[in-house]
Structure formats: C-alpha cells, structure tokens
C-alpha cells in the first residue's frame, strides 16, 4: 500500500532531483544527442552571466517589496476582520476571493488594468493626482514593471497570509488582552506587547513561506512580460526556463535549478534555526 506513492515520488521527484546534479556537470541538451562531462563549466557560465545576476537581483528586489507589502496588508486585514464587525464572515469570504483566483486569470485581469495609456489604473492615477502624473506604462517601463508585478502578486496571494494570521490571532488567549487592559495599556501598547509577541511563530512562518514563494516568481512574469522590458522583470525561474526550455540547454538549466534549490534550502534552514531558537 505504501509502494505506489513511493514509486511515484521516487520516479518523478527523487530521481529528477538527484539526476539534476550529474546533468548540471554535462552539456546535455533536451533533445537526445551526444554529450560530455564539462565539470563546473555550467556553473561558471551561469555565475558570470550578467543576465543571471540581473535575474537574481530582480527576485531579491521583488522579495524585498512583496514580502512587507503582502504580509503587512494581510496582517492589517486579519486584525480588522478579527473584530466584532457585522457581516465579518461575508467580508472574510470576499477578501479571500483573489487567493482562489488562478494566476493565469489574475494576469488577464491585471494586464487589462495596467493598459497604457487609458487603462483603469492610469485613470485612477490621473484622477488622484488631478492629472499631474502622466499615464504610466506599467508593464512596459523598466522603472514601473517590477512594482506592477508586486502589486498584482500581492493582490492575488495576500489572502493566504491573512487566514494564517487570523488563525494565529485566535490562538492568543483573551485573558492576556484583559490583563493588559486592567494595566491600562493603550490600543497600540496591547498590539505591541500582546498581539505581536503572540504572533511570533506565525510571523516567522508567514515571512519565510512568502520569501520562498517570492524567489520562485515565474507565472505572472512568463505571461505578462517574459522577463522584459530590458530584463527588468527577469527572474531566476524565468532565466532557467529561457536557457533550458527555449534554448534547450538542459545541463546549463540544471545548474540554475540547483542554485535555486540551494537558495530555497538556505531560507528553510534560517526558518528552522529561528524557530528552534526559543522552543
């Protein structure tokens, strides 16, 4: 009874993972043709390619923007929805809707919203600034392309963090708030000294998961910008896709895949370390 799952996980997860190490040391291609051992050449080639560094810098930039925006908004919404507001289940249901929307659909919607020059977002920007800020070519301008991707990504995914925060908030014992209130703590002090410490585990978990997901940024890039304009939204996975799938260079792409794995592993190890710290 254990066998089917073991076979499937071995064949389609363990084997490709283990194989990617030797493959990354060859010049193997996706189409069958003779290949040879090239040592660490692929790693040298990747690590000396300015486009790869640009991609790595871009995902770092993306992560630095999306993690605070998405988690901050999710926490704010969780705090708001955790109160006794009439119809809060309805609002929670509505606020979670983007999270069940497929990224492909999200791209169709936001591709429309970002339309240059007369799309809805540009109209809003024009309206709010009384026409002083000209229309922005959201996805077409290297300066705004990554912030635009951050915006749609945060919109799509914050619902996940929101419900996790909500679960965390509901685990904080009510008597802690009662005690703080008796001590005369202000709303801010209760948030600072009861809510935040109570959410410590949740916070670490949410931040790490969001960071890992951010480093794997791909779908919205592939559909909306293909990494452009001028590589301003290129990411590590999009880079891997371009060299490995479009360029058919399996060996080179495997080297990128292993670098990605090492990054994700390091982030996970940080999580383990931080969480073990105080248990």
């Amino acid at each position: 009874m254990l066998l089917p799952a073991c076979i499937i996980i071995s064949a389609f997860l363990l084997v490709p993972f283990v194989m990617s190490f030797p493959i990354s040391l060859t010049n193997q291609r996706l189409i069958p043709r003779p290949y040879r051992f090239v040592g660490l050449d692929n790693y040298v080639q990747v690590l000396t390619d300015p486009v790869f560094w640009q991609a790595l810098w871009n995902v770092t930039r993306f992560t630095a923007m999306v993690v605070p925006v998405q988690c901050g908004f999710a926490l704010a919404m969780a705090l708001l929805i955790n109160q006794k507001i009439p119809g809060r289940n309805f609002f929670r249901g509505a606020l979670f809707l983007p999270a069940i929307t497929s990224m492909t659909v999200v791209c169709v919607i936001w591709g429309t919203l970002f339309q240059f020059p007369t799309g809805p977002l540009n109209q809003i920007v024009g309206f709010l600034t009384l026409g002083m800020a000209g229309p922005i070519d959201w996805l077409g301008d290297p300066r705004s392309s990554m912030p635009a991707i951050v915006l749609l990504s945060a919109w799509q995914a914050y619902g996940f963090q929101m419900v996790v925060y909500l679960a965390g908030l509901q685990n904080i014992p009510a008597d802690l708030y009662e005690a703080a209130r008796l001590d005369g703590a202000s709303t801010w002090q209760r948030f600072r000294f009861v809510t935040l410490p109570g959410l410590r585990q949740t916070n670490i978990f949410v931040l790490i998961i969001t960071t890992i997901q951010a480093f794997k940024l791909f779908t919205q890039i592939n559909i909306l910008t293909q990494g452009g304009p001028r590589d301003s939204t290129n990411t590590v996975v999009q880079y891997m896709y371009t060299v490995g799938f479009v360029g058919q260079k399996l060996g080179l792409a495997s080297a990128v895949a292993i670098i990605l794995f090492v990054i994700v592993l390091l982030i996970s190890l940080v999580q383990r370390y931080v969480l073990r710290d105080r248990k």
Binding site: I8, M19, S20, G119, P120, F160
Partner: protein
C-alpha cells in the same frame, strides 16, 4: 456609560461604524477587479471592452450578451478552447482519483503499518518537501521525453499521484486516530487494506477534503509544468491555453475575458459552497513548520 469607559473597554467596541465602513470599502476595492472581469466578459466586442475600460462604464454593461461565451466554446483555429477545458477536466479527474488513493494509502501505512524503515521513509519525505517543483521540472521533462510521455495526459497526471506534502498531512491526521479503533478492527480479523478502507477513510473526511481541495486547486491552476510538457493542443490545459489567448496580441481580448471567467467559475462555485473548508485547507497546508 461615559464615552471614556467605552473607550477603555477594548478594540471590539471602538469606532464600530468606521471599522465597518473601512472594511466594506476595502473589500469592494479588492473584489472590484474580479467584478470588472465578469462585466467585461458580457460586453459584445473587444472594442467596447477597451473603450469603456478607463471609465465607470467598466463596471456597467448596458447590452449584456453571452456571445463571448458562445464564441469561446466554439472557437477552433489555433486555440481550441473547448478542448483545453475538456483536457483540464480530464487531468483534474484522474489526478484527484489517483492522488487521493495513493497519498492516503501511503499515509496510513506510515502511521500504522509495522514496517521496518518507516521512520527513514518519513524523514526522506519531509526532506523532499523542501525541493521546489521549479528546480526539478527540466530533468523531469527529460525523463518524460525518454519515456515517450511528452505531450501526453499521463505526463500531467502521474507525477501528482503522490506528494510528500499530502502524504505528510494525511499522516498527521491518521496518527491522531485512537489506537483502540485500529486494535478493535484487528481483533475483528480485518486486513490492513480493510482497516484503511472501511475504518480509517470514513472518519477522515475532513483531512481528505483538505487534500482534495489543495490538490484540486493546484492541478487546475498549474502553469509551469503543462507549459513545458504540452507541445500541442492535444493535452494542453486551460491555464496554458488562456495565456496563449492573451499573450500573443490583444485581438482576442473579449475571449480572454470569457475564458478566464469559465476557468474561474468551477473554483468559485466550490468556494461558495465549501468556504470554511477552503480556508481551513489553506491554513493546514501551511501549518507544518
């Protein structure tokens, strides 16, 4: 009661109107892009969609029509949308059937079986969970090519019949079931498979529903893997199909809209019916450290 004491009595009682209004406005803003999509899909052609996108007309449709839906389902040419839809349903159905069975069987054995290497297998599974799908897809594509499974349904179904995450989630649930239940079944002379099928599965519906929802959404929305493994329309799913509609140029803007609504509709319907389960599934997928 003075307003001062009311202010002291806690966050729940302060500014109820302001809180209600702000949450209502925020919810409206958050949901509006989805509303916009549905409204746009009901407009007769792409010119009207684009022309009205920049004004409040984007939220109103004066002459609603289902024309785009008819068009999308009968659209053939290079992008047979109806075919993509059927393909997605096929992939979803078979992924769920196999995935539910194999993940839960493995979890049952890991939780209750008397297998020598149980702990090692479990550790290996948890270790493999860290490996991102993104970093194995190209070697996996190579394997599929070598197996002659490129551009097939099998390539989109087989790899998802078992995953460390779902085995682990079900394992956690099964391990919490009281020992007496298992022992009683053993005394009754039930075989391991019978215990799994007749005793454990029926009382594990919450855990099974969680896995079904997560696996179902994951399969339906999957993008990277089908993008790589489907080279023709033969087995291409809806997610990759819509991207094709949208990516090339905006000629089929109206169709991309209606296609998106069609893709979203089943998920939305399930969500509205089983909202609580959706939310708890998402939480449990996360809470494993």
């Amino acid at each position: 009661m003075s307003s001062a004491t009311q202010g002291q009595s806690g966050p729940t009682d302060k500014f109820p109107v302001i809180k209600f209004v702000s949450i209502a406005i925020i919810s409206l803003v958050i949901v509006s892009p989805l509303f916009l999509l549905i409204v746009a899909s009901l407009k007769p052609d792409r010119f009207q969609i684009l022309a009205e996108m920049g004004s409040f007309k984007a939220f109103i449709v004066t002459n609603p029509t289902l024309k785009n839906y008819g068009d999308i389902l009968t659209f053939s040419g290079n992008q047979p949308f109806a075919r993509y839809l059927v393909n997605s349903v096929i992939v979803l159905t078979f992924t769920l059937l196999g995935g539910m069975l194999f993940n839960s069987m493995a979890a049952f054995v890991l939780a209750w079986g008397r297998l020598p290497g149980r702990a090692i297998i479990l550790t290996l599974m948890i270790g493999l969970y860290i490996v991102p799908q993104e970093s194995i897809v190209l070697p996996l594509l190579n394997i599929m090519n070598n197996l002659g499974l490129a551009d097939s349904f099998a390539a989109q179904i087989l790899p998802f019949w078992a995953s460390p995450l779902y085995v682990f989630l079900l394992y956690q649930f099964f391990s919490q079931i009281p020992r007496d239940l298992y022992d009683a079944a053993v005394v009754d002379g039930a075989s391991p498979f019978e215990i799994y099928w007749k005793v454990f599965l029926p009382i594990s519906l919450p855990a099974l529903a969680t896995v079904a929802i997560l696996l179902g959404i994951e399969t339906w929305n999957q993008y990277l893997w089908p993008l790589l493994v489907t080279q023709s329309n033969y087995a291409r799913p809806i997610s990759v199909g819509i991207a094709g509609f949208f990516g090339a140029d905006s000629i089929y803007w109206n169709l991309a809209m209606s296609a998106s609504v069609v893709m979203m509709a089943p998920v939305l319907a399930f969500y509205l019916m089983f909202q609580k389960w959706f939310v708890s599934s998402v939480i449990s997928s996360g809470v494993k450290g």
